[in-house]
């Protein structure tokens, strides 16, 4: 039982990082109908920005976090111009191809400038640990689930109660009607992309103290995020939050009780099953999938 709790905790930590990346991805899809394959690169660049700020310039953590947010917002701005505004009136799959191109370009730009070797953020925190009963977690890991809760909680509150949040939700429901009601589409689009990029960037920054960052790190994380988004129901932030935690736990349990080799396979099998039998996702409302 003690071990089970430890496995569960490990799963929740990993799942929390999936949630941060996937919520942004699902927002961008739900509101703007853009499938963003460059989302993993937002995560990767967040990690690099954070490491550069804290290691090369010696900034304290909050300042580094601000740098990460600023870099992410700029990225979001640029990505919106390319993937949303640049693709007006094109069919859905264009955004897949364009964002894939953007992902390749960003990966290789980083590869050329920073080199292919992995980087790691060194913090004093790494040598502290937290024990909750039988569960033992190093501090950088233990911080991730509460940080995720705060960030995602704040996001949901903003979506629910602020005017900006309302206009975002209005756009997601019906673009034309939202526009008629005075929602500034362009502003909403930019904000959505900035939000998504910042969430992913912050996740990348936090994870850079746990894992390592290298130019291709986004490949796996974006696939995981897509798995989460589909399981949770595309366009549903709450679904993504629940599915992210679920995927983290399932992966952890697979590794614990089946075999580690199947860890990455399970998610994809789940996606295919979900799309075949419950295309609206485990937590999504029934929608026309087109």
């Amino acid at each position: 039982m003690d071990l089970f709790l430890q496995y569960l905790a490990n799963g929740v930590v990993v799942g929390s990082s999936y949630v941060l990346v996937a919520v942004g991805l699902t927002l961008i899809f739900g509101i703007l109908h853009v499938v963003n394959f460059a989302h993993g690169e937002f995560y990767m660049l967040g990690g690099y920005a954070g490491i550069t700020a804290s290691t090369a310039f010696g900034l304290p953590l909050p300042a580094s976090l601000a740098v990460v947010a600023a870099v992410s917002c700029l990225l979001g701005l640029g990505a919106e111009a390319l993937l949303h505004r640049g693709l007006k009136n094109q069919d859905q799959t264009s955004s897949i191809i364009a964002s894939f191109g953007l992902a390749v370009a960003l990966q290789n730009a980083v590869m050329v400038t920073m080199g292919p070797q992995p980087e790691l953020m060194h913090t004093e925190l790494a040598y502290k640990a937290i024990e909750l009963g039988p569960v033992f977690l190093p501090a950088p890991r233990a911080l991730i689930p509460p940080a995720m809760l705060i960030i995602v909680g704040a996001l949901f509150a903003a979506l629910r109660w602020t005017w900006t949040g309302r206009s975002l939700r209005a756009m997601a429901q019906h673009e034309t009607v939202a526009r008629l009601c005075g929602v500034k589409v362009r502003r909403v689009a930019v904000i959505t992309f900035m939000l998504g990029a910042t969430l992913a960037g912050v996740a990348g920054f936090m994870m850079s103290a746990v894992y390592m960052v290298h130019p291709l790190v986004g490949n796996m994380i974006v696939l995981k995020a897509f798995i989460v988004v589909i399981i949770g129901g595309m366009g549903s932030p709450l679904g993504a939050a629940a599915a992210g935690l679920l995927l983290g736990v399932i992966e952890s349990m697979t590794s614990a009780y089946l075999t580690n080799g199947l860890r990455d396979v399970v998610g994809f099998l789940l996606v295919i099953a979900v799309l075949l039998f419950r295309p609206q996702g485990l937590f999504g409302r029934s929608l026309e999938r087109s």
Binding site: D91, I97, V112
Partner: protein, 332 residues
């Protein structure tokens, strides 16, 4: 097919036939790889360009074809000419399996399922050691001597011989594709792409149309995979990663999806261009990414689609008729 397309095809055919007499092994090798990609891209275009069913799994089918050849050679001892139809059939069946989710899903969702399938196939090739040889892959014999009822026909040993086989295969596949898209079935594909509901309403069997598009598309990749396996004399999983699928999609998109010549030209261009980067080789992936973004934002219909559009509007202007549906198009 328009006259321009026929002329382009004829020029290409002459060039590819003349190549073995003019070029060295390196250039010929590049052209042979280009021919393999032509088969892959033309095949993908059937499902995506004509039928509107997006797929990121062409690399997986390419691999399934190759591994069919490898497994048959190992366990049954068959040669290239037996493996080729077997590979096409097996891959076609996998295409059918991928087509099933396509009956329920569209656009993004289908694209993501195909990505999941591509990733699963890759992981399967890596991890199913007893069947696929894991990361070591499988050795595949060269094509070698070809006999019919005990009579020796010809022998494929050198790169030049292999190139001829690839050229003939590519020509056959391109011809089949041409017949398919100009058949009743091809028109049904286009109908499904344009408006699936309407196509169903006028009595077309959309299920059949979509499944056949997937099967045909996969079968093309399977054929290319078998040839590649025998040409490389081996298969390893790393040659069939999602990257290959993305490359084929890029070739089709850059050339022009839904045009007949587009994917052919796209495959040839995107295979040859990286070889010419020279000092820029360090940046070739960066250039590739930027090219893809620019291409989709500036000319989403692809190079050929763009040219066609421009010509149509020019023709309309020249004939003095009122511009067709879209006035902005004619002025472009």
């Amino acid at each position: 097919m328009t006259r321009a397309a026929l002329i382009t095809l004829a020029i290409l055919a002459v060039g590819f036939v003349a190549a073995p007499f003019l070029l060295g092994g390196y250039e010929l090798n590049v052209l042979m790889v280009a021919l393999l990609y032509v088969i892959l891209a033309v095949g993908l275009n059937l499902a995506t360009g004509y039928c509107g069913q997006f797929s990121f799994a062409q690399g997986a089918f390419y691999g399934i074809g190759g591994y069919t050849a490898g497994i048959l050679s190992r366990d049954v001892g068959t040669g290239f000419w037996m493996n080729l139809p077997a590979g096409i059939v097996v891959t076609g069946l996998f295409g059918l399996a991928l087509g099933l989710p396509a009956l329920r899903l569209k656009g993004h969702f289908l694209a993501i399922v195909t990505i999941a399938v591509q990733t699963l196939v890759y992981l399967g090739l890596v991890q199913w050691n007893s069947l696929t040889g894991g990361q070591n892959g499988l050795a595949v014999p060269p094509i070698g001597e070809t006999t019919l009822f005990g009579v020796r026909l010809f022998e494929v040993t050198s790169l030049r011989d292999l190139y001829w086989v690839a050229l003939v295969m590519a020509a056959v596949f391109v011809f089949i594709a041409w017949r398919l898209v100009h058949s009743r079935l091809g028109r049904e594909w286009v109908a499904v792409r344009e408006d699936e509901t309407l196509a169903g309403a006028v009595g077309l069997n959309t299920t059949f149309a979509k499944l056949t598009a997937f099967v045909a598309s996969a079968a093309f990749a399977g054929g290319a995979g078998v040839l590649n396996a025998h040409a490389m004399q081996g298969v390893t999983p790393d040659d069939f990663q999602i990257w290959i699928s993305c490359m084929v999609v890029a070739m089709m998109v850059v050339g022009g999806r839904g045009t007949f010549m587009g994917p052919i030209l796209g495959a040839i261009a995107l295979t040859i261009l990286p070889e010419l980067t020279g000092e820029l080789a360090r940046y070739k992936m960066l250039i590739f990414g930027v090219l893809l973004v620019v291409c989709v934002t500036v000319a989403p219909e692809g190079a050929l689609g763009r040219i066609r559009k421009a010509r149509e509007s020019r023709d309309q202007a020249a004939s003095g008729r009122a511009p067709a549906k879209d006035p902005s198009e004619a002025s472009a």
